[in-house]
Amino acid sequence: MLATKDLIKDFKILNKKVRVISGITTQINQGERIAIIGPSGSGKSTFLRCLNGLEKATSGSVFFKGKNITSTRDCDINEIRRHLGMVFQHFNLFANLNVLQNITLAPTKLKTKDKDKIKKEAISLLKKMGLEDKARVYPSSLSGGQKQRVAIARALIMNPDVILFDEPTSALDPEMIKEVLLVIKELAKDGMTMLFVTHEMRFAQEVASRVMFFDNGKIIEDADPKEMFNAPQHPRVREFFSKF
């Protein structure tokens, strides 16, 4: 479904080139639920953002369904992004739109379906999130957990093939983390392909079908959760877990 080949991403920081992703080649198949863990600054977010083109790869390629989406020539990145949902750490709900409009804006503008159908679907998504009474409310008056559930609904209405979660619960108060994780678990059960960057090790263990450990812009260990959490191979990984 998704693949990268020799993916490299450099940032210029104070006029100095810094390599943040240093040559990642990997493949993600339909139905996989991939937890991405690793120390801060290891390039987890950047990797995720390269997958949907929010960051442009310095070199190497990203493939979606076999199509090279890093070549600007034969790829309309906007079209690809419709199939790659993203959920952000800080929600990024559109502040000028109410909850319902947040969800319906993209499908309405992109004319994926007719308007009535979009609205019906949005309302049923809100019901699923337990937020049907918030349709006319503006984001500023929602709690963090409610905001993140709206953000998930906003991604889901595009019927994406994959959803990328970048620390979806890191900005939440502890009591709200559960409600959001529950929604993601629900999605997992329905067979959604997903990648999630997380610091919730228990959640990763429970939901992921595969765990990638990032260090210094590289995937240094890539294993199923049992192996990763019980018998990690790489000394850096063991050192990382010893802090928990």
Binding site: R81, R82, N92, A95, N96, L105, A106, A151, R154, A155
Partner: protein, 466 residues
């Protein structure tokens, strides 16, 4: 310089254009209906009649008269001007139609009696007048203090900031009437100066006609009649200064309203132009920063903002009016003002809009992109509506500063609020009251719009109150 012949052009267009500075009664002034009247206007009317064409009058600031004449936008100048060396290089002068002299004004109790007493004294003059050059060149005199209006010099005299004021005889009479208990005119005639009509150098045929008209008016006594008419009207006006003053403000309220209307119209139209131009310029730069497109236009936009914000608006006004528009044969003052202030405020609006957009969290862009929305949709539906909330209150502040900045348009002869106050000052020889009235009107508008900003902010940010 090659020979010019205005006569042919005048005859073919059926009109002759006279340029003046209508702030020098009784020679030229704006009456209570906003029309330009005065001795020079009556004489010019006779000239037009002699040629058999219509007279067109335009009033600009005194410094601008010769510029306008030289550029060809007017055919002759009649503005109580005297012939002088510098002027004679590019212009020709008619025979004199009036002769006057400079006089000294002092406080009632002053010991100054003649020019010899002026040595080492602080003297006030009106800038660019004969009094100015007389005092500047006289041995032993201090550098004179130059005012744009003689009335301002007189108020400094009364307040003892000056020892004397040197002005022409007629103006001197105006200035002391109603203030006889405070100031007086000394006996000595300092100069002899001839008022002449000015045409472009070598415009001999036209000059010949003008001289003929002047000779005729002198011979048949009509010139004397014109002078008597205006001078007697003036002395009559001065009988009871208080009544006259009240009367004048009442009479000139129409002029104030006209000025106010112009000030508001110039500001509103300029802001419309500015918002349009500024938004486009800002969008160029944002587009380049966001996705690397429109690099060239973004550079142009940056250049535009830098140049406009780095030069005084009054210089921009001169360039638009005297250089840019005149190249296309356009001499519309209102258009010049709107164009200047529109382009000027566009640069400020561009920065307002740009910082309004930049201040939007990057996450808003990214959330839009991640759903597959193209740049255009993200800007239109997500970014701009949010940016507008930041921009609108600042835009009203821009309106307020624009309103005040437009007060310089008088310099190209447009009657705005400030200019209307100036006109009244030149008629009443009063410095204080007209300025106070004008200031209060500006302040009143500014207070209204400031109030609007706070109301708007309350409304716009209602959603954000958590």
């Amino acid at each position: 310089m090659c020979a010019v012949d205005s006569i042919e052009k005048i005859k073919s267009t059926g009109q002759v254009k006279m340029i003046t500075n209508a702030e020098f009664p009784p020679f030229e002034f704006i009456d209570d209906k906003g029309d330009i009247k005065g001795i020079d206007i009556d004489i010019s009317q006779k000239i037009a009649e002699e040629i058999g064409v219509k007279l067109n009058i335009e009033s600009v600031s005194f410094d601008a008269i010769l510029l306008e004449l030289e550029s060809g936008s007017a055919d002759f100048a009649a503005a109580a001007m005297t012939s002088s060396e510098e002027r004679s290089q590019n212009f020709s002068f008619s025979d004199p139609y009036f002769t006057t002299t400079q006089r000294i004004l002092v406080k009632k109790e002053s010991k100054i009696k003649s020019s010899s007493d002026l040595v080492g004294k602080k003297i006030g003059v009106a800038i660019g007048t004969v009094g100015d050059s007389y005092c500047s060149s006289k041995e032993g005199f201090l550098e004179p203090v130059r005012f744009s209006k003689p009335a301002d010099a007189v108020s400094d005299l009364i307040n003892s900031r000056l020892d004397a004021v040197v002005v022409d005889d007629l103006t001197a009479d105006q200035l002391i009437s109603g203030k006889l208990d405070l100031i007086k005119k000394t006996e000595e005639n300092l100069t002899q100066e001839d008022y002449v009509i000015v045409v472009r150098k070598n415009d001999e045929n036209f000059l010949h006609i003008i001289n003929e008209v002047i000779a005729k008016l002198k011979d048949n006594g009509e010139l004397q009649k014109i002078f008597d008419n205006y001078l007697s009207a003036q002395t009559e006006n001065k009988k009871d200064p208080q009544v006259v003053a009240d009367n004048i403000y009442y009479k000139y309220s129409g002029l104030i309203l006209k000025g106010l209307k112009n000030t508001i119209l110039i500001t509103v139209f300029s802001l419309i132009v500015g918002v349009f131009l500024g938004t486009i310029m800002a969008l160029f730069r944002v587009a380049y920063k966001e996705n690397g497109r429109l690099k060239f236009l973004s550079l142009i936009s940056k250049f535009y903002v830098t140049v406009i914000r780095g030069t005084p608006v009054i210089v921009q006004l001169f360039i638009v009016y005297y250089v840019f528009l005149s190249r296309f044969g356009i001499s519309d003052k209102f258009l010049s003002a709107v164009l200047t202030f529109g382009v000027n405020s566009g640069a400020y609006v561009a920065e307002i809009v740009r910082s309004g957009i930049i201040s939007i969290d990057k996450g808003q862009f990214e959330a839009g992109y991640s759903l597959g929305l193209p740049y255009k949709d993200v800007m239109l539906n997500i970014i701009m509506p949010q940016a507008t909330r930041n921009i609108l209150p600042t835009l009203i502040s821009e309106f307020i500063s624009l309103l005040k900045e437009t007060s310089v348009v008088g310099i190209i002869g447009l009657t705005d609020l400030t200019r209307a106050g100036d006109v009244i000052r030149s008629v009443t020889y009063e410095a204080f009251t007209p300025l106070l009235i004008v200031a209060i009107i500006y302040l009143f508008i500014v207070i209204i719009f400031t109030k609007m900003i706070s109301l708007l902010k309350q409304r716009l940010f209602k959603h954000d109150i958590q």
